[in-house]
């Protein structure tokens, strides 16, 4: 702003200076400065030569006076000019200075800005880190809680004996079957089992002898030495010792399906669902007979476990027999949810030969979970969903389903 005024004043001066350099225009219209040299002889600055006539003399004098007057004016003008020049230079310098000042001010401001931003960033970073730490902590807690929930609810599915499926209950605790077996063998038979006989259907398979007797303990057959009453062997019973067609023990009828299975296995007029030893039993309410055994965790047992005692004969369903024939090394046993490959020498399960889904049956409603078409490749062109019929595959067979009623109307053997 100041430079503006300065410039203005300079300009004013510049305008003023030439103006003052112009005297009242008496004679010399020469303006700027060349003194008219009218004398034609004689020099300048000489006093008037009065000789040359009367009138001329006066004009001469006037001219001389004018010249004399102009002389200092010239000097003055020169001085003024110089001053003007100085002023302009000064103004320029001032302008330059001002510009530089502004520039450096701006630069300084920028630096300040940058510093401020950096500081702000640092602070933000610190806050973010703190936030992250807080979040992580909260997340850890959430995750811990979530995990705890997951594992708790997993193990919260307390079954008949208070243990999660697959684990064995003993003395108020739960442990994996392998450990349990190791622990039990050579020990006294737990008191609560002393009067618990094997399920009727298994008594032929496990006959008491003079040396030992059998008792049933929550899915296991205990072989007990008569003389010492110590446990000699422990045999896990597939299906908890029960199989389809057997009568479900009334003592288990109060053991309901764990919470998280309830939505899928709801009692109906024709089907009750009960839970024991890791299996869900579908029971006919009137006859008490087991119609289906659904392993709560596939089978509760797996590779490395002993051959289940209740299936000592080849019981593979017919449609699978060609795939799993008995061989010199392996036998195959069918249990709920799977066909097991068993090593003949060790009697241990070596592989799960085939997984089986809970079976479908003609006349039954299509159970939950068969929303998606799942027919094997080689049958897809033949059996595909239309508005009048649906097809679903299960355990080697293709079932035709009425889309409106969801009733299974026919079964087509699908040799895999």
């Amino acid at each position: 702003m100041s430079k503006f005024f300065l410039a203005a004043s300079v300009a004013a001066l510049a305008i003023a200076v030439p103006a003052s350099a112009k005297p009242d225009k008496g004679g010399g219209q020469g303006g700027g400065g060349k003194p008219a040299k009218f004398e034609g002889g004689g020099g300048s600055g000489k006093p008037a030569k009065v000789e040359r006539g009367g009138g001329g003399g006066q004009m001469k004098a006037q001219k001389a006076a004018a010249k004399r007057f102009q002389q200092p004016m010239k000097q003055e003008r020169q001085v003024l000019k110089q001053r003007d020049k100085d002023f302009r230079q000064a103004a320029k310098a001032e302008q330059k200075f001002q510009k530089q000042a502004v520039k450096s001010e701006q630069k300084f401001a920028k630096q300040q800005d940058k510093l401020a931003r950096q500081e702000f960033k640092q602070r933000e970073k610190l806050f973010k880190e703190q936030d992250k730490r807080d979040d992580r902590f909260a997340e850890q807690r959430r995750f811990d809680n979530f995990d705890r929930d997951r594992f708790e609810s997993r193990f919260g599915a307390l079954g008949f004996n208070g243990c999660p499926p697959g684990l064995v209950s003993i003395n108020g605790g739960c442990m994996p079957p392998g450990q349990f077996r190791k622990m039990m063998i050579g020990q006294m038979l737990p008191a609560q089992y002393s009067n618990s006989l094997l399920p009727l259907e298994l008594r032929d398979l496990y006959r008491d002898s003079d040396d030992y007797y059998y008792r049933y303990g929550d899915g296991y057959a205990y072989r007990v030495d008569r003389r010492t009453n110590l446990v000699q062997a422990l045999l896990p019973l597939l299906g908890g010792g029960y199989s389809v067609g057997q009568v479900f023990p009334t003592s288990y009828m109060n053991s309901y399906v764990p919470d998280y299975y309830r939505p899928f296995y709801q009692d109906t007029r024709d089907d009750y669902y009960r839970y024991a030893n890791g299996y869900i039993y579908q029971v006919d309410p009137r006859s008490g007979m087991i119609q289906n055994i659904i392993p709560a965790y596939s089978n509760g047992y797996g590779v490395g476990d002993m051959l289940p005692a209740s299936y000592s004969y080849y019981n593979v369903p017919s449609q699978y027999r060609s795939f799993y024939p008995e061989t010199a090394d392996y036998s195959y046993r069918y249990g709920p949810g799977a066909i097991y490959q068993v090593d003949r020498q060790t009697s241990l399960i070596t592989a799960i030969a085939s997984l089986l889904s809970p079976g479908l049956a003609v006349g039954q409603q299509l159970p939950m979970g068969y929303d998606a078409y799942n027919v094997p490749y080689q049958y897809r062109s033949q059996y595909y969903d239309t508005p009048t019929s649906m097809y679903r595959y299960s355990n080697g067979s293709i079932y035709q389903v009425d889309p409106t009623t969801r009733l299974i109307t026919a079964v087509i053997d699908a040799l895999i």
Binding site: S153, A157, G166, Y260, Y297, G337, A353, S357, Y377, R380
Partner: protein, 193 residues
Amino acid sequence: MLKGAVSLGLAGALAALSACGGGDQSGGGNQAAGPAQSGEARQAAGNKTIASGLGQNSQFAAAAKAAGLDATLAGPGPYTVLAPSDAAFAKLPAGAYDTWMKPEARAQLTGVLTYHILPGTVLAADIGKAIENAKGKAVLATMGGGTLTATREGDRIVLTDGAGTRATVTAADQQYSNGVVHQIDAVLMPQKG
């Protein structure tokens, strides 16, 4: 989304055409709508079983082997396997995988793995159709006994387990002689609903 619908429509049209004319447009891992010609699909599936397809190197394959399910997945089946990637296993709480791999946890491991196996051959298009028919939420039964809920988000299929964990199908329709494998990005747990 629209682009997806258009391409799906095109693919569907193509499949329909091929079905009529017996062309070999279908098969081989595309997610087109429409039933695949059985012949072409079989060819696409080849002679490789799911077990050999899964190989030895992934954590899922190692877990399946430990549970004795590698033999299952080399058998006739057919099965639909939802295979979590190694990254999915990394999302589990620390030590969970190692605990599962111990012999004492065999039953739990089997339970978790069979929760990732569906009966029969369910292609991505079949899940999609089931979702449509069920007005957005389809229920899929698993070999383990529990069920999964399938929904669609954009053009992806999302599976939700009993605990609410969501897994997205990242690569679908890897066809084999005894079924199909879909890769998912999370491990599903058979849990309370």
